[in-house]
Each structure stands twice: as structure tokens, then as C-alpha cells.
Amino acid sequence: MYAIITFLTGLLFGLGLAVSEMTNPAVVIGFLDIFGEWNPSLIFVMGGAVSIGMIGYVIRNRRSKPWLADKWYVPTRRDIDKNLVLGAGLFGIGWGLSGYCPGPGLTALTNNPMEGVYFVGALITGSALFHFQNHRNNS
């Protein structure tokens, strides 16, 4: 059951990215180019997603636990630390360079495979770099 839900969530999320053209880096860069020929369409993506997302959290706040799990796994930290600021800053630079954030970047493997293999290879390497750096620091 969990496997089906997880797979379908990925599938529908990916479909949402495709329908809204987040999967096309040319559209994303057009959205980020606010001082040039700005394409504001992705505001509607964020607006649509966040408005439904907020309804989800209103319902969540009235329930003691999820329908199919014993507890909520929603992040609870509220502190603004150096890693958050630095990490978000680096991510934004990478996003602006190619127009790929992680989800659309993964879909480039099929939509634009020549670019996809380079981007996803580096995406996994960057993620691994953090993982092993952290692992070493913790042990």
C-alpha cells in the first residue's frame, strides 16, 4: 500500500512539474530572469501548490496522526543557522546556472538525456559529498 502511494505521489508530482513546464529549464530561466524578458508563469505554479498545501496543513493541525502512519514526520526546527543560509545560497546559484532544481533535473534524464546525465551525475555527487562529509564528522 505504502509502495503504491509513494510511487503515485512521485508520478503525480512529476506530472505536475511537466504540466506547469517546470521540467523545461528554458521556462525556469525565463522565470528567474526578472530583469530581462520575465516570464511570470511559475508564480502560478507556486501559488497553486502552496494554496492547496496550506489546506493540507489546516487539516493536519486538526488530526493527531496521519491516516496511514502512527505519527507526523514534518520537520520541526525553527532556528536559522549558517548551514541553512549557505546551503540555500549555493543551491540558488546552481539552479540559476542551468534552470534545473532536483525534481526537474531528474526528469531531464528522459526529457533531455544528454544534459540529464551530466546534471544528475553531478547532483548525486554533490549529495554524496555532503553525506560522506557529514558521516565522517559524526563518527
Binding site: I5, T6, F7, T9, G10, L12, F13, G14, L15, G16, L17, A18, E21, T23, N24, A26, L32, S41, L42, F44, V45, G48, A49, V50, I52, G53, M54, G56, R60, A69, P75, N83, L84, V85, G87, A88, G89, L90, F91, G92, I93, G94, W95, G96, L97, G99, C101, P102, G103, G105, L106, T107, T110, E115, Y118, A122, T125, G126, F130, H131
Partner: protein, 132 residues
Amino acid sequence: MESFSLPLLGGLLIGLTTAAYLLLTGKVVGISGILAQALFSRDRLLPFLFVIGLILGGSAYGIFVEPSQPFPEMRSPILLIISGLLVGYGTRLGSGCTSGHGVCGISRLSPRSLVATAIFMTTAIITVLLTK
């Protein structure tokens, strides 16, 4: 106005999906975190299934939707590699990306996600300004 109906529809679908996933499983949809779990966690099956679903769903572009503009021509591998490294490392260091912070985090008005989203939007806009 018509050009905004599909982005809105896609956004609503993304919101509906993340809200349903939250209420069913109690978890947020954060692609950078799910990818890391698919690669490095002990229980890889579920995050791996999510990634496969995401790639399949994301490939529907051009099948259900007429592209409004073509994909970029193959760009420099160096640019794509630097971009991928920054996105991969930065999203882990900053605990999230456009989905985890930008959609799920803002939906619950998390202060960390509001700050992270403001920062990555700013550095992305500056990067596009400098590279275009």
C-alpha cells in the same frame, strides 16, 4: 491569461499531491531529501519508487502538454556539472530545495523554509542576471 492556466493546473496538482501524501503518510515531499534517501538510507525501496514515478510523470511533457518553448540546446557539460554539484551539495547543506522548502515549508509557514526560499530565489535571480 490562457498561458497561466496550465502552470496553475500543474501547481494545483503538485499541491494536491503533497497534501495527500502528508495526510496519508505524515511526511513532506522534498525531492532533494528523497533522492538522498534513495541513495544512502537503509530503506531505499520507497524513495527509489518515488524517484522512478517522478521521472515517468515528468516525462509527460510534450505528450499531454504542448511545449510553450523548446528545451535549450545541449549546453556545456562543465556548466551542467557545476550546477549539479551546487544543487546537490547546497540542497543537503540547506536541508531542502524548491519542493521541501518552497512548497511544503511555505505551506506551513516554516520560518526556516521562508528564509531558505528567499535566499535561493535571490541567488538564482542574481545568477541568471550575471550569466544571461
